[in-house]
Symmetry: C2
Subunit: 411 residues, 2 copies
């Protein structure tokens, strides 16, 4: 059914993953859409696990998004059930019933309340998701739960992804070392307005849900909200953070407590690493762009200019063609609708300043830029010369592969 | 130098064009960038010709845009000089000097003031445009001026265009019949924020410049501002309207005078016809989309939702693949950032309602939709079910051809 595509040339190996106290996970084949591969994943959290989440701002969210949003204020989670192949989006009353039936079945399997089950679905939009296949698969799935099931979980949530995505950091809270570990999926329909398709991060730290939520919202800005593959914001974007509390750190009641500085930094690294993996698995991607805009009137303005560059089909195709066509970067800056002054702008590619003060620099030698464009990691820097605002975002090129993948996704 | 591409499968034939009293035009090979084809076009207007124009809102406009904006308040035009192959954008002081030198030379050739010369350049961004080649070509160009030079002019302004674009209408002002005739170019970097790359329309009507400007601004909203090829707004977008006054109609001092109703309607048709030609020559286009959004909270909101659909790479690739993947239309509606309610939304393709009230319609038969998707003209209709706002826009699909053209435009 599902076509498989060759691994992205930008694929990264799965890092070594650790067991995380208070968390077991696993995956099975539920035959929801794909054949011969796992497509249903369950995480089981120890009692007392706190939860935080951010979800798509798309106005047509899937039924699982509605469910999670409504359950998040409860602040605790015992289970997370995710299927791939069908997004359960625009499925009306049937979609809501599938979510309710699935949550009830998972709650029975894990011995908790349905309100402590979180769900997500990813795949085709507009087709009914059969709850019976999920319910039927739950006994095998519950038996498959293991503390070292992380790679299996990362693989089960993939759709057009070509490699599984995970990241891991350790951090200190007081004198206790805690683990932060997460998985993500995403490849197309990537322009998260708060989080990409699906990403799940867990920690064994003990943190109240409001603190966890504040930390997650702080971390998402420079990571998942700073990537784009195709400017299309998914109806299913979900990023969740679970804290099992098994590490035994001292209680912390405020996200801005200095005791959480190291944790927040490590969380930011995990989120950024996962987000970059999504870009590196962007549909058809052959090159990754790191786009930094400085000198904007604000950080938000810098972000919007950087996104205008990263989403420009003309910039993306030029990068695919290894063409140092900096004029298209100028165009993209100018179309962003943000304060910009042609005559103060400067543009650099691969560290070589090409244009400044409204024209190409005197004696510009394209040689090092051409060499840079042949690499896989393209670095674009723009200075607007107006203020102190800055932002970095990540994008990928636009190639024939994107057309191949998306011209016939459903077939 | 310039690659040539096969004509768009959506190409339209050039309509029969008429001589327009008070206007002569022609084209020559100035060897600015292209070899073996015309690349410099001149229009000569009779004394007393009034002028109106709208220009790109891109913050990094080319030097010719700055020149035209500054000259427009004068209200009269005697000449229009346009080159293809080089956009004279981000060329600093040298670009300004090229504009000044070219305008002065054209003014001498036509016996008028430089302030009555309008200019435009289209092509590569960031390379210096040699004024000497333009100045050297002016004697031959002036000799080439003819009343029937319209097709030659339409061809000389093409860049990645695969067919020349022109449109013609007649209208009545009082008891006088006037002619409205125009040409356009544009294929990529098309998401006009007021006008696409270059379009020039002339009429033999007698209309004061402020009336002409009001009519043009009224006409651009539903035409050039309602098309997109790739969401990239050009640095050179220019739409100008010239009125030679030779038709001898009675004076009209107000754009809203009922005597101008027929003229305004005919002008709107010319602008829309030219704008649609640009979409039909969209880089790599194999299908055109007509996207109508109804039931929005306002016309502006409907327009933004329609543009979100028309610019979505996932919608565009689905259309290219003849895949009636309506879920991506739902996604695009939801990401537009405009008021929308998943459960009130309906989506139709080719006149078949597919989804309504938050889910697929009971007994949906995909057969007629599949047949419609195999055609060249794809009709997408969305009803948001919220209000009376409506808008129609035109876009094209995203194919391998777009990647081919833009991965190596400069080479």
């Amino acid at each position: 059914m599902a076509k498989t595509f060759a691994p992205s040339p930008l694929a990264l190996p799965l890092p070594p993953l650790a067991a995380l106290a208070g968390l077991r996970l696993g995956a099975v084949e539920a035959n929801i859409r794909y054949k011969g591969r796992t497509d249903l994943m369950l995480m089981e959290f120890a009692p007392g696990t706190t939860v935080a989440g951010v979800f798509t701002r798309n106005k047509c969210p899937g039924a699982p998004i509605d469910w999670c949003r409504a359950r998040l204020p409860g602040g605790t989670a015992r289970g997370l059930l995710v299927n791939s192949g069908n997004a359960n989006v625009f499925t009306g009353r049937a979609g809501v019933e599938t979510v309710e039936t699935s949550a009830a079945a998972a709650a029975r399997a894990l011995g908790c309340a349905p309100s402590e089950i979180f769900l997500a679905s990813t795949g085709v939009i507009g087709e009914k998701l059969p709850a019976d296949r999920i319910v039927a698969a739950l006994p095998a799935l519950t038996s498959a739960l293991r503390m070292d099931g992380w790679e299996a979980a990362a693989r089960a949530i993939m759709t057009t992804d070509t490699f599984p995505k995970a990241a891991r950091r350790e951090a200190r809270i007081g004198d206790v070392t805690v683990l932060i570990q997460g998985i993500a999926k995403g490849s197309g329909m990537i322009a998260p307005d708060m989080a990409t398709m699906l990403a799940y991060v867990a920690t064994d730290a003990a943190l109240p849900a409001p603190v966890l939520q504040a930390l997650l919202e702080g971390g998402v800005r420079g990571s998942f909200n700073a990537i784009t593959v195709d400017s299309d914001t998914s109806t299913s974007d979900t990023l969740m953070l679970f804290a099992t509390g098994k590490a035994g750190n001292a209680p912390v009641g405020d996200a801005h407590d200095p005791a959480l500085a190291d944790f927040a930094a490590a969380l930011g690294e995990v989120l950024t690493e996962l987000a970059i993996m999504v870009v590196r698995d962007g549909e058809g991607a052959s090159k990754m762009m790191t786009i930094t805009v400085r000198g904007a009137v604000s950080d938000g303005s810098a972000h919007r200019v950087a996104m205008a560059i990263g989403n420009s089909p003309l910039v993306k195709t030029a990068v695919a063609g290894e063409d140092a066509n900096w004029g298209r970067i100028v165009m993209a800056v100018g179309k962003a609708g943000e304060p910009a002054d042609r005559d103060r702008l400067s543009v650099a590619i691969g560290g070589t300043v090409i244009a400044a003060k409204g024209t190409v620099v005197e004696g510009y030698d394209e040689t090092p830029v051409i060499a840079h464009m042949k690499g896989q990691d393209i670095v674009i820097e723009v200075d607007l010369g107006l203020g102190d605002g800055r932002a970095t975002i990540w994008s990928c090129d636009l190639t024939h592969g994107y057309i191949d993948i998306n011209g016939s996704y459903r077939s």
